[in-house]
């Protein structure tokens, strides 16, 4: 009897919120049918059926927060007997009268998942190891090799779903986790971002609970600001040549529907400059600084209630038009909340652009585990001096780099930024 469980859709995902049910109890479902929408930290994903049959029971209601691996619904295949309904089983449990594990019948909470497991008849296990929704007694069950691997790789086993009998975490579960996470599971202090004084309850206030995204962005920013010693440097870039080149290129690209933005040039310049300063294209890890040969550039995109950083792969080796297409496509799907987790994870360097808001200059917070972020401000048209010291109108744009000072020294910050500036002031270099 296949149970539909909350899938793990991303590295840091511990729970998901059930958005909208697209199927109802009693509906017939085929493999691949979309059952419901799941809201994770940063995106909305479709939950598809892995088994065909009748959607016998919906366990998680809309808006319910369900831990990864927790039961969401039950699909009954052809010829399978329907399980006793939840309410009926609870009545049974109550009638048993041992009282020790009584659960209030009205609440459908995550605490029930283990209880349900316990209530299984022994025969239920016969079809081989069934993915269990969690350990029966709250203990993490794991095989010895799993405990060993967890120790070696600093993995928190409580975040891994066991596929062995009674939810035992077996070697393949850890291997899968290691492959998808590419490293140790990040430890996050529980609810640290929500720590604050109690609501004032003053008249006229409106209390808005944190969305998943606000919570995650908040935790990550707090973690970065508290743990990463930041170092900043700012340069002003003369962009008249860049604007001229952009105009020229866009005139030629128009029929292809491509329009290069200033940010496309900035991202390209940042990535190309990293060839000379590869240390800035690295990740701070538990084992040391992980240098990356490829620049997978995270691009900050503002959303209504938060922020997401879709990643453009290998930006140094992409053409300006390639970057432009990728950036537009990712940003538009980001705003629709349709990014896949792999599309907003794994960045090695970040660019954040507030040029459209008339910002003269700003600093950004490093996006861990990457070690540097470039903040791009608005074009400012001001009088300046040309080569002959004549006063001429000049377009200037400020770039501010924020770096993890544990990895990047001030000099390296300055030299890197000078290289970015050189490339942007001789923008034809970015077209070759």
């Amino acid at each position: 009897m296949p149970e539909v469980i909350m899938p793990k859709m991303g590295d840091a995902m511990e729970a998901g919120t059930l958005g909208t049910w697209l199927k109802s109890e009693g509906d017939e479902v085929e493999v691949g049918d979309v059952l419901a929408e799941i809201e994770t930290d940063k995106t909305t994903m479709e939950l598809t059926a892995e088994d065909a049959g009748i959607l016998q029971e919906i366990i998680a209601g809309e808006g319910d927060n369900v831990p990864v691996g927790g039961a969401i619904a039950v699909i009954v295949g052809e010829g399978e007997e329907a399980p006793p309904r939840r309410e009926a089983k609870q009545a049974e449990d109550g009638a048993r009268g041992d009282g020790a594990d009584e659960t209030p019948a009205a609440t459908v909470t995550e605490a029930e998942a283990p209880e349900k497991q316990e209530g299984k008849a022994p025969g239920d296990e016969e079809g081989g190891p069934s993915p269990a929704e969690g350990p029966a007694d709250g203990r993490v069950r794991a095989s010895p090799i799993v405990r060993r691997l967890a120790g070696e790789h600093n993995i928190d086993l409580s975040g891994i779903r066991g596929t062995g009998p009674a939810g035992r975490i077996v070697e393949r579960d850890v291997r899968t986790a290691l492959e998808t996470d590419g490293g140790p599971v990040e430890e996050r202090p529980a609810d640290s971002a929500t720590a604050g004084p109690a609501p004032t309850s003053a008249p006229g206030i409106e209390l808005k609970p944190l969305s998943r995204m606000q919570r995650v962005v908040g935790e990550r920013m707090q973690q970065s600001w508290q743990q990463v010693p930041h170092h900043y440097a700012t340069v002003g870039v003369h962009v008249d040549d860049l604007l001229a080149l952009r105009k020229l290129l866009n005139a030629g690209l128009e029929e292809d529907g491509i329009k290069l933005s200033i940010n496309d040039f900035v991202m390209k310049a940042c990535a190309v400059a990293l060839r000379k300063f590869p240390k800035l294209n690295s990740l701070w890890t538990s084992e040391g600084i992980e240098w990356h040969a490829t620049v997978d550039l995270a691009m900050a995109v503002a959303l209504e209630d938060g922020l997401i950083t879709p990643v453009i792969k290998d930006v140094a080796n992409k053409t300006l038009s390639g970057i432009s297409i990728a950036a537009k496509e990712l940003a538009s799907r980001a705003r629709e909340g349709k990014l896949e987790p792999h599309e907003f994870q794994g960045g090695t360097f970040t660019v954040s652009n507030m040029g459209m808001y008339g910002v003269e200059s700003f600093t950004a917070i490093v996006n861990p585990p990457s070690v540097a972020i470039v903040a791009v401000s608005s074009l400012i048209r001001r009088p300046g001096f040309d080569a002959e010291d004549n006063v001429v109108p000049q377009n200037t744009m400020k770039l501010t780099i924020g770096s993890d000072h544990r990895v990047v020294n001030g000099t390296e910050n300055a030299l890197y930024l000078a290289e970015v500036k050189r490339l942007l002031q001789r923008p034809t270099l970015l077209t070759v």
Partner: protein, 328 residues
């Protein structure tokens, strides 16, 4: 140059080799001379070596085993044939009380260089009283060495080692394997306490000895068709047992299945499982599985006998269980 020989020929060759090499080697047992041995291991040896070295005895296992122990204590190196190992029950008092202990009692002054050999186990429809696997019984007693070769080459090489050993060796032949063939080396004593990797693999370790090794190899082929790469260990020597080989393999595969023809309780497989959990606990991904014979006296009927002994499907299923794969 290795030649292809049967398990039976390989055993006979080893015995002949030792009779030629060392005059103190003598054979003793029922029907081994004039008749040539019920298993035809000693054919023509009476003619070749004479009645002083190939001694036919009455049907009295306790008597001739005791005599052989006395010979060994006095410096000969007897090879005792049990027509089947089941008959050794009649000689157990001599074997346990004397052969296994005299060296200890005498503070090492009196050695008992004795080989007790004969067919062990089942598979040839000899029914309940003539079908026993006695390895865990003899393996229990300090002072005895117990070996169970599965291939003709091991049969020969381990017999050479057994005859040259200064202790009592219980040499368990697989009655069902006498006719099987394999390459046999010229003069290559195989040391006790060294397992043989019968097949290399990385996903699961199948551990066995005697005629179950062939079963494990067949199961490994079936598993391979499913993408599961099984390692097969032939223990060969049960006491001493090659613990390091078990540990090394499980450190690689993280999963083990021990297969024995004998009954499950107090068996070799239990010992294997205990060694693995003791020395390779941190490498295990699943409890060690045991595949054993059914808990009944061996049946005579062919279909029931087959059902009472481990089969390939049971080994495959056990391997799938330790890999947490669903049964097919």
């Amino acid at each position: 140059m290795p030649e292809i020989k049967t398990y039976r020929e390989a055993l006979r060759e080893a015995i002949v080799h030792e009779l030629d090499r060392d005059e103190s080697v003598v054979l003793i047992g029922e029907d081994i001379g004039v008749y040539g041995g019920t298993q035809l291991i000693t054919v023509d040896l009476l003619e070749q070596y004479g009645a002083k070295r190939v001694i036919d005895t009455p049907i009295c296992e306790g008597g001739f085993t005791g005599a052989a122990i006395g010979m060994a204590m006095m410096g000969l190196r007897p090879i005792v044939e049990m027509m089947t190992m089941n008959f050794s029950f009649l000689a157990v008092d001599q074997i346990i009380q004397n052969a296994a202990k005299v060296r200890y009692f005498s503070g090492g002054q009196v050695k008992v260089p004795l080989v007790i050999r004969g067919p062990n186990g089942g598979g040839v429809q000899l029914s309940a009283q003539h079908t026993h696997s006695l390895e865990s019984f003899y393996g229990h007693f300090p002072g005895l060495k117990v070996v169970a070769p599965a291939s003709p080459n091991d049969a020969k090489g381990m017999m050479l080692t057994a005859v040259r050993d200064d202790n009592c060796v219980i040499f368990l032949e697989s009655g069902a394997l006498y006719g099987t063939k394999g390459e046999v080396d010229e003069d290559n004593p195989i040391p006790f306490g060294k397992a043989r990797i019968a097949r290399e693999g990385g996903d699961v370790t199948l551990i066995s000895y005697g005629r179950q090794v062939a079963l494990c190899l067949r199961a490994a082929d079936t598993l391979a068709a499913d993408g599961i790469n099984a390692e097969v260990i032939d223990l060969r020597s049960l006491r001493p047992m090659d613990e390091d080989a078990l540990v090394k393999s499980v450190e690689k595969t993280h999963r083990a299945v021990a297969v024995q023809e004998q009954w499950r309780w107090f068996g070799v497989a239990s010992e294997v499982a205990a060694i693995i959990q003791d020395r390779a606990f941190d490498y295990l991904d699943a409890p060690v599985e045991r595949v054993s014979g059914a808990e009944v006296p061996a049946p005579f009927a062919r279909n029931l006998e087959l059902a009472a002994f481990p089969n390939e499907q049971q080994v495959v299923e056990a391997a799938r269980r330790v890999l947490y794969r669903e049964e097919k």
